[in-house]
Amino acid sequence: MMLAALVLPLAGVAVLAALASAAVSLAASRWPRVLSWLSFPLLGVCALAALASGIDALWFGGAHQAVLPLGLPWLPWEVSVDPLTGVFLLILGAVLLAVAVYGPGYAREFRNGRDSLAALGVFTALFVLGMLGVLLAADAFLFMVAWELMSLASYFLVAFQHEQAEHRHAAFLYLLMAHVAGLAILLAFGVLAAASGSFSFAVMRSMHPDAFWAAVAFALALLGFGTKAGLAPLHVWLPEAHPAAPSHISALMSAVMLKVALYGFLRVAFDLLGPPQWGFGVTLVLVGGATAVIGVLFALQQTDLKRLLAYSSIENLGIIFLALGLAQIFQAAGHPALAALALVAALYQALNHALLKGLLFLGAGAVLHGAHERSLEHLGGLLRRMPRTGWFFLIGCLGMAAVPPLNGFVSEWLTFQAALQAWQLHDSLLRILVPLAAAALALTAALGAAVFVRAFGTAFLGRARSRQARHAHEVGRGMLAGQALLVLGIAIAALLPGPVLGLLARAATQLTGATVTGDGWLWLTPISPSVASYAPLPILAVLLVVGALGVALLRPRRRAAIRRAVPWDCGFAPPTPRMQYSAAGFAQPQRRVFAPLYALHEQVTPGRYEQVVGDRAWRQLYLPLGTLTDRVADLARRMQAGHVRRYLAWSLITLLVLLWIVS
């Protein structure tokens, strides 16, 4: 078991590498090459260490703890790595490795700009350090410190290109929501600490609050971690912040940071809170389902590629929370095996989303780098100009559309299988609710496929819609290698679901107490072979064989394989690029069918038609909140009118009230 003992040291190496990367990047303003040759490679080392530590923890199971000589004298920092941490270390390591390989090529673009390269390097490393700290923390103090570090570092990254006003606004909104979330999380930890008497997770795990305070802590945790994970209606910061950051940071934020928020929620709600209640599960299912539907509907209408990906992240986090809700329901109803299955489905979905969304954001960054365009309305035909990026992006889109034999399908299949076991429940309301949740999931899956068909079809297929797209060029080897690494990860998750399930199942076992089997490396049979099974390798093999046979048998012997000609287009005049379907036009049927859910603003001036799809949450939740805050602030302002005697009067009244309370 010598390998098992390496878990904590590897995690320590990761932390030190991130620190070193931050320290080294301070010099990047003076010597830009430091960024490419030292900062990013150190982040790569950090990623490899985190990956190894995570896999190690999952392989061997068990918890590894240590107490650090840091923090306050009576409140030292504790770290621990258990299988749950291992899953998210795995996710962090995989995506960070790809970003570290991709980063140097992408950051070269900023060399000639006015933005500080040192800031980019330092804050990227601090961001990674914060995320590592959150994952490793075993007491509330270290958790909150690392959480704040993560939020602040990412704020500076979102505001990196601060010349544009919208980036500044996005960054401010992000910071605001992050701190509201942090406050809620702090209060949740407060409730748990009050019930157990200590800030350490180990103590919290053994002493649980009673039912009422558990519900309060759950609500606070959902509010806090849900805001950071982008659950509706607290998701409005996500579509603003993720596109504003540089693309490799967007990849880290969407792929990893959202999962760190998920980890926090899992830790508090499933591990520390004690016995689950089915009401929690139903809440999670409803919130997750609503988030998924809202996310995908809005993703369908975006014309900015990165905003589209951001809304799609919202959708996927909703699906993950829906699966978590199913797990809670099953656990509360006394079926730990089914709860473990639902939990594994949620974790697999998290892993898949991290790999796929990371790939897609890196691809979007490559598109931005090669074509200097982000709007789908100005792209087109990129598959011929940027072939490798295009094929990688296609794999990412097919994965997100959840079709076999790719990995998105595996997690969706697992979630459906878990939901279909609802016949074992006794409560008739739950027995209806769980399949209904699966029906909502089916709806979002169908819409999700439409989102990515539209994204890939408009950006990479067809003809170029602008001069920039016509002159797009493929990106460098580094950026391609980063994407290729994620494709490798996707292939493993897609074609070897049994072993991956086996690894993730350890975390599920830790939280629910039941095991989930994978049945070998070829098949995926989580329940039993007669109930359901899925084997992606034979599917891929047959697809390739049939395709190859088709090509070989049908190829003409004496003629050329194909003849190129002008597009047929039913015999009309040769089409121009402007005659193609635009991205907005592609989604118009859904816009019309789901019109009540969108806040559509139309403006027609001679020769110009503008339609803006706004987020209803803004108008109905945030603007009233903002107005209320303004009014309260106005009232408060009257207290500070500048009259000295009025200040003294307020002080006197406060003193009287306090004395009355104390007496």
Partner: protein, 234 residues
């Protein structure tokens, strides 16, 4: 217990109850008035069939009489009267599409889930295999009320009201094997009288404000004032 293990009559009752639930949804969604009347007639036929089958299973003669009364009233007489009314009001081509069909569908589904949840403890006291029909009948009643809420045409409101009565009858048949015959006859005649009154009122409303859209019933007040002001021509 498996569905296949139930006696055949019980299986048929469950099938007919499910089809009655579907007809309640169809009534909700059907935009053409004449088709809605036909759906209502089908719903009456299904409910009468359930009564007849339950009578056959339990041997209770009263249920046969109830089924016959329901058939004559709900499948033949009332739809005929509504047909005649529609023709007199010249509403054959009226279409009354739902403003938010998807939302209405969702509300209907939520109502079915809710009705099942509410009826679950009640259903536990019954011992026959058809006790879950109570949940279905409660859902039909609530869906009838939903029909009255979302529909704008007055005639569709009448159909929703009648559908509620269908649901109550189904609940009575399934749980207590019918109501006392006196109550049955009383309810039947109440419904008949209500129909006649509806017919008279609708003719009056159509004459006054030239529409049967209930959102515009407030115009009746202004039209009454106008009638008071105008004097008959000399």
């Amino acid at each position: 217990m498996n569905f296949s293990a139930l006696p055949l009559l019980d299986q048929a009752v469950l099938v007919l109850a499910a089809m009655a639930l579907f007809s309640a949804f169809a009534l909700l969604a059907q935009s053409r008035l004449l088709s809605a009347i036909h759906v209502f007639a089908w719903q009456g036929a299904l409910v009468a069939a359930v009564a007849a089958l339950t009578g056959a299973a339990s041997g209770d003669v009263n249920l046969y009489i109830s089924a016959a009364i329901t058939f004559v009233l709900k499948v033949l007489l009332i739809p005929w009267m509504l047909h005649r009314l529609v023709r007199r009001l010249a509403l054959e081509r009226q279409a009354d599409p739902l403003s938010y069909p998807a939302l209405t569908l969702l509300a209907g589904a939520a109502i079915v889930v809710f009705a099942d949840w509410v009826a679950a403890p009640v259903a536990q006291f019954e011992h026959s295999a058809t006790r879950n029909v109570i949940a279905i009948s409660l859902a039909i009643v609530l869906l009838g009320m939903l029909t009255m809420v979302v529909r704008r045409q007055a005639l569709a409101q009448v159909l929703g009201f009648m559908a509620m009565e269908n649901g109550l009858f189904l609940a009575a048949v399934a749980s207590t094997h019918g109501m006392p015959l006196v109550v049955e006859l009383g309810v039947a005649f109440d419904v008949l009288v209500a129909m006649v009154l509806f017919g008279v009122f609708f003719l009056q409303i159509k004459d006054s404000i030239d529409t049967l859209d209930i959102d515009r019933l407030s115009q009746l007040a202004s039209s009454v004032e106008q009638d008071d002001d105008t004097e008959p021509p000399r």
